[in-house]
Symmetry: C2
Subunit: 707 residues, 2 copies
């Protein structure tokens, strides 16, 4: 592995057209799922840190590099087979530099293996391979959720955690549709002796009739889908005691219309902390519970907002009595230190920028590690801050850095991507950020290919208050004396950023392919997207689509000002929220767009789910005008350009009813809408079928935009 | 009403282009459901015969013309209101020339009204308005099927006929998916004292998950849909005795895999006759049952076929011991006289033509009235035959005649349509066919409009054995020195005939509109379609689509031989079986067609229902190769032209799974298929939405065929 300084990257220029290049881009090498795509994808180094250490295990084709040792997959399998076990399916984790834990599908078991002497050190048996496995920090147990039940497995077998399940009640699974930063349903205490878990009762939630057409006769495969304004599911938080097998539930307020998020253990296992949010999502209570009996100890603090509160990061404990909390209370996401005993709060970071990730803390040094966009909203860098508020930037080089920190916080892997540098993974020192080793470096994932020209432009948001960054992709043989058709690709929804300072300014590579087919491809993030502060992000409240469109029209007007843009051939494309935006733009500005493609579009926010939908729109009962004004299913009669709507027939996120309603209304309104269905695809068309999808999208623009 | 002789019609020439014409055709006046369509539709006179008479009641806007009397709707309503009843919803029938029976939705009752003296003569009460009403011949009772139950209503109220229903069991409804000529589920004996009815158990039939997207959250609305080769429903035939309220069931063989069709009563109420057919549909038993106890009296005769038997007309009794039966036993559908006592059969009609309708018989004169195509396969005429086999043609004028006969068989209404005459309804004498009165006459439903040019051409079937008739529609400004794109519209399935000697040679008027947009529109019936004899019709057995395509390619080759046809711009369109044919043609002859539109297509005969599907294809288990070869969902990878597939999302005939499977396979095969869904439409897009449908179809051909 060569060592590359980040300084040298900045010297590179992104003038791909001048590069000696012969090979043309194809859909197969620019669309995820294409047979050649992954050869060109800028994924970071593969690997993970060893538990309780600063050792990073690099995974290479020849095996697992642990310090100077290399352990091959064959060697691990041989150790298993020699001990009479089944071969491995995948690595669960590294207990120490010699001992790895593997999972074996065939045996439904996990084994700890000392690779130095090829012995099995311990095992966890009867893990159902259908479930999600969450290994305890002490490697002695695993939480396994096997729908609808939850088990804790150890070396003597399984113990079922929950009482009766079924009839719409599930245990140990992610809840609240993965909103509020929730990604899983089990939470080990640091000692590994207690397990917090979710219990979700969906029995009162409406079932959406998804249909499986691959059955001999099409069969029903319904999903519980709680639509905005309708009855929501009910969640409880349980605690399982590994030593005595007891289970108790937190004595919270009624779970009706209440969200339980950001679960964290105190380091000493004594307390469980839960951020509880009302259904209106404008009030949060950070509650401390006694883990021994589930009783409420204290509401530590509350947060409210006229629009919404949305905590996404669990309390990060720097000691038994202090934790770091991310709050937007000053208008930007910043770190606060909270003391459980004194109930005092201290702001650790401040400025017109946002903390974007919270990585962890070194309790000995009192340092907290995080990611933020303090160097500019297109960038992400790695920082640390001590408990006095002294902040240090650990990463260098203009671009997007993300990190994995070692359990001992002595090292981190910096995965860096810049507009002109695809991926650079380095092992760094947490004291200074100094590079210790280069783990992976690929300057150009398309070396030898003809690439289009990528430029950015700074524009002002429609209200004049924010800088927006537009990204233009021009064909490699661009001739400024000619005019070109434009495809404006957008997403526009919360928690998104399409243009940043990563490789090719974040351009997904199919857009480069489209550019090479003679289109200018434009993208710009609007107000309402992520990590720009409350005023920028919250202006969408109760009127999704409105200020997003105002900003997107700034981009359109910029495009129309360019002499090489053919203003009669402006196209638009987006998926999901971007599909909603595409139809909104085409129906609200119906003389602007000649053709558009909207995939998986929300066509009526009343058909979207409660957690995401009501955060932004309130309930339909509370905001009928807002729902009506932003319902593209109802405004489709305004359509004048050619519109292709695409939907997966088993989409569990934006249910099919959305686009079918739109089609029904289009017939009623005497408007022709083109349509495509991707059978047996969910919210996104994935796998190799995605190549077909983009072939279709390109064909549509070729048919109705190009000429 | 003017009297017009049929002789004068033949003198008219169909040279619409020479007619002084100004108004252009539009979708609204050429598509059924369009706001102006019905002004131009060639429907016959409205009316019905009075019971036990030769009096025909003509319905005009001013009311009901009964002989010299006119009864207005207001007059009927006044008679009701004056007698303290609710106003009428519709006429159920005429008991005599003074007494009509009406149904009142609001009162859920039927009333007999003497219109001469405005008195209520009788009533039948508590008829549920959700059900189908079948009035007994004596006007004393009505059979009312209210899913899932069956009631017999009289003037003292309702009696429920069936025992326990529900759980998939229904009574009094049409069964076997309306195949075998079945149109209803209740059958009154001539005296009105006994009622035969169907009991259908569908509990063992697979449910197809149809989805209602108009619900707040999409809701399931499943249908029992028995797919080819799967478990079929089970039917029993019951008899209800009106006088003692007893119900019994016929003691048939096991109803598993057996069809019960063509139910008829002997004139004396003593026997019930049922044509029973095995699941393979190659063996029929005509059984006589004792109506008093349901026992089998005799199997009168059997019919078998190497392909299929398909009786569609119930025995027609000319006396208590003799009935007329339609059989294909000599290769064509002909009338046979069968004697129950002697078990002897006598053939009444013969020739290389088919009986197409059986109207009834005059038991006094021993004359049987029917429709046949004896004058040529494009025609239909009205005939009678006596029991000695002497046949007399009652209708005159080249074209298509259909008839309604009076209960006393002294009169009939001849509804006549010719290529150059839209509709002529005359009241005729059954003795000679002489015209007594002209009831309606419209020579040209598009008087004053510019019409395209319609021509026919005679071609030989691919096997050289049959004449086929192609119909060409040319734009009114047709110029033989230019070249035109062609749309070949086809259906091609059994029981169909698209080209005949009716108005405009049977051309549906939207085709004329398409021609006026610059297309030549061609249509031709192929082998396998109706009323041409067993050899012509049965060649499709176990290989649906194969010889149909061979014939359709004869039509294509004819088109390609025409100097004014642009052979690079041949399009194709069809719906249902025609949708199947469209995709079959485009995938089997994939260099021929530039663009096609397939609506509601059967894409895999395994997904079609048992009764129709297995008759032609046998079970998938018995004919795997036949199913595989004719599965367009599987051959879609051969597609080269542009194909638009259209489907209604609640289609209960060709279930949605068909086209969704095809789309899924198209993705797999890397072929692009265009798609349209008509939400909440069943097998055909009906109502005003049909105008939108044809707007779409035309747009598609304009996009991808015209230039």
């Amino acid at each position: 592995m060569n060592k590359i300084t980040t300084a040298s990257i900045a010297a590179l220029l992104l003038t791909a057209a001048t590069v000696w290049a012969q090979k043309p881009l194809t859909l197969e090498n620019t669309v995820p799922g294409g047979t050649e795509f992954y050869e060109h994808y800028n994924y970071p180094v593969r690997g993970q840190f060893v538990s309780n250490s600063d050792v990073f295990v690099v995974v290479e084709p020849d095996g697992y590099h642990v310090g100077d040792n290399l352990f091959s997959r064959n060697q691990i399998d041989k150790a298993l087979v020699d001990n009479g076990k089944q071969s491995m399916s995948y690595i669960l984790g590294w207990q120490n530099a010699e001992t790895t834990w593997i999972y074996s599908d065939k045996a439904s078991a996990a084994y700890g293996i000392n690779l130095k002497n090829s012995t099995i050190t311990d095992s966890i048996t009867q893990i159902d391979n259908e479930g999600d496995i969450d290994l305890a920090p002490d490697f002695r147990h695993a939480a396994v959720s096997v729908n609808p039940d939850l088990f804790v497995a150890g070396n003597t077998g399984n113990h079922k955690v929950n009482e009766q399940a079924g009839d719409g009640i599930v245990f140990g699974q992610s809840v609240h549709r993965n909103e509020f930063g929730i990604e899983k349903g089990t939470f080990w205490s640091e000692s590994g002796k207690r397990l917090a878990f979710y219990r979700m009762d969906e029995s009162m939630v409406g079932e959406y009739p998804v249909v499986d057409i691959t059955a001999r006769e099409a069969a029903l495969a319904p999903i519980r889908y709680p639509m905005a304004g309708e009855t929501s599911h009910e969640v409880k938080v349980g605690i399982y005691n590994v030593e005595n097998h007891d289970t108790l539930y937190l004595k919270t307020a009624s779970p009706v219309n209440r969200y339980f998020t950001n679960i964290a253990w105190s380091p000493d296992d004594q307390f469980l902390f839960v951020a509880e949010i009302n259904r209106e999502q404008n009030h949060m209570w950070l509650n401390q519970y006694n883990a021994a009996d589930g009783s409420l100890v204290n509401t530590l603090f509350e947060e409210t907002s006229p629009e919404w509160v949305e905590p996404c990061f669990a309390p990060l404990f720097v000691s038994n009595s202090q934790f770091v909390w991310i709050s937007e209370r000053d208008g930007f996401k910043h770190l606060y230190l909270f003391n459980i005993k004194t109930l005092k709060t201290k702001q650790l970071t401040r400025g017109n920028w946002c903390v974007t990730e919270l990585y962890g803390c070194n309790r000995e040094s009192g340092e907290v590690f995080f990611q933020a966009n303090a160097e500019g909203y297109l960038t992400r860098d790695i920082y640390k801050v001590n408990l006095k508020g002294k902040m240090t930037r650990l990463s260098s080089g203009y671009g997007v850095h993300s990190a994995w920190f070692s359990p001992k916080y002595g090292r981190f892997v910096d995965n860096f991507s810049a507009p002109n540098y695809a991926i650079l993974s380095t092992l760094c020192d947490t004291r200074t950020g100094a590079v210790i080793d280069t783990l992976k470096s690929v300057r150009n994932t398309y070396e030898g290919y003809t690439l289009p020209i990528i430029k950015t432009v700074s524009l002002k948001s429609a209200d004049g208050r924010f800088d927006l960054c537009g990204r233009l992709i021009l064909p490699s043989d661009f001739d400024s004396t000619k005019t070109y058709p434009v495809i404006d690709y957008m997403y526009g929804g919360p928690h998104s950023q399409l243009v940043d300072a990563s490789w090719l300014y974040g351009a997904s590579t199919w857009k480069m392919y489209f550019a090479q087919q003679g289109y200018i491809v434009f993208t710009m993030d609007n107000r309402g997207t992520e990590s720009r502060g409350v005023e920028y992000e919250h202006c969408i409240h109760r009127r999704l689509g409105t200020c997003e469109m105002e900003d997107q029209m700034v981009g359109i007007n910029y495009l129309r000002s360019l002499p090489y843009v053919d203003t009669t051939r402006i196209g638009i494309h987006g998926w999901s929220y971007g599909g909603f935006m595409t139809i909104s733009m085409m129906t609200n500005h119906n003389t602007v767009f000649k053709a558009g493609v909207a995939g998986g579009p929300v066509c009526d926010w009343r058909l979207y789910e409660i957690m995401y939908g009501e955060r932004y729109m309130d309930m339909p009962q509370e905001n009928p005008d807002g729902y009506a004004r932003n319902c593209v299913a109802d405004s489709i009669g305004n359509l004048r350009g050619r519109l292709l709507v695409i939907h997966g027939d088993i989409d569990p996120v934006v249910v099919w009813q959305n686009s079918l309603r739109l089609l029904q209304n289009a017939v009623e309104a005497d408007v022709l809408v083109d349509y495509a269905v991707y059978p047996q695809h969910e919210h996104n068309v994935i796998g190799h079928d995605r190549v077909h999808l983009f072939k279709r999208i390109l064909q549509y623009f070729d048919d109705f935009l190009k000429n």
